[in-house]
Symmetry: C2
Subunit: 197 residues, 2 copies
């Protein structure tokens, strides 16, 4: 609920996250060799972040997922973000988590051109979330960690609840959903949705 | 809206439809040989329908989908039901349609053990729909073709709009969604949802 106990609605663009991963420095070296760095393929909406040229393979007990793209820059801990459809296709049922919350999540083996990294944990299905720059968050009375809803229009009109607000200096306005959510709602990146606080 | 202009809510179980196809007699013969019949692997919720032992491969210009299961009995026209995730993986963007409404939909090539069938049309993404037996439909004042909403609970709480009511003698109470919708809502077959008329 927004400032003053009033429900607020506003429009925002969505970004559809396909499966991807973030690497820590140590796993980067194991997969791409000592001293290897990420190469920018394309900037993405969140400031400073980019899709890298680098791709790896994820090996689980029940399957293999090729060409999993690295999103840079490097992070403190390696994290793999799959849709539930992706996860099931390699025999996994990861929990739905916010980015960075990897305690107790399943792991797997990553294979890169220079070697492999055995992960004890790090595979999540990303909770749908709303990135807001500090100005927009202030305008609508929203804080980091708060939960809002997202309403879509069209043939597959849907309201998604439990959308987690992420705000701070490194955030730009965009609502992120995964490919299952996008397909369920008939949505593509750049479509506009309504946020209900 | 239900009888007397009043909104009604009631619980119902869901069935998650994975990709599958229905075959006409002519395509059955092309794929499995003259005189071939379907063999029941498992009954499904709708009266008289069953998952068959028979599977085929779908070939499109951009990909191949193996082990697509036939749902029996045979129908007037062949129809392939994919999720948008499935469809995109073989380069297709079929429209969202109710079962049987295949005019102007994409086609492809089906390959079976005895031969192939070239389809000019028939690939759809199934519109979410609510099967109701005549007694339940009457109880809640709902008619065939009417549109209701479906509310889920849980971490991925969602309201899906535009759920089409299908009712008649050959229907049993169950709300059908595809794997994208199930995964977006964190749902499995047998879970209970709320229908809002």
């Amino acid at each position: 609920m927004g400032e003053g106990g009033v429900y607020v609605e506003f429009s925002i663009g969505i970004g559809v996250s396909a499966r991807h991963l973030h690497l820590c420095q140590k796993d980067m070296a194991k997969l791409f060799g000592p001293g290897a760095i990420l190469h920018i393929k394309k900037s993405i909406s969140q400031p400073g972040q980019f899709a890298a040229e680098e791709q790896v393979t994820l090996l689980t007990e029940k399957g293999r997922m090729m060409k999993l793209r690295v999103i840079g820059p490097l992070r403190k801990e390696t994290q793999i973000e799959l849709s539930l459809t992706d996860a099931r296709s390699v025999g996994l049922m990861p929990p739905i988590r916010s980015s960075g919350d990897v305690l107790g999540t399943p792991g797997g083996v990553l294979i890169g051109p220079a070697g492999q990294a055995n992960l004890e944990r790090g595979i999540i299905v990303a909770a749908r979330h709303l990135h807001l720059c500090p100005e927009t968050a202030a305008k609508y009375g929203l804080s980091d960690g708060e939960v809002v809803s997202m309403r879509t229009k069209g043939e597959r009109e849907t309201v998604f609840y439990n959308v987690v607000v992420r705000t701070g200096e490194r955030h730009a306005d965009e609502c992120h959903i995964d490919t299952d959510e996008a397909n369920a709602g008939g949505l593509s990146s750049g479509d506009t949705v309504i946020i209900i606080t």
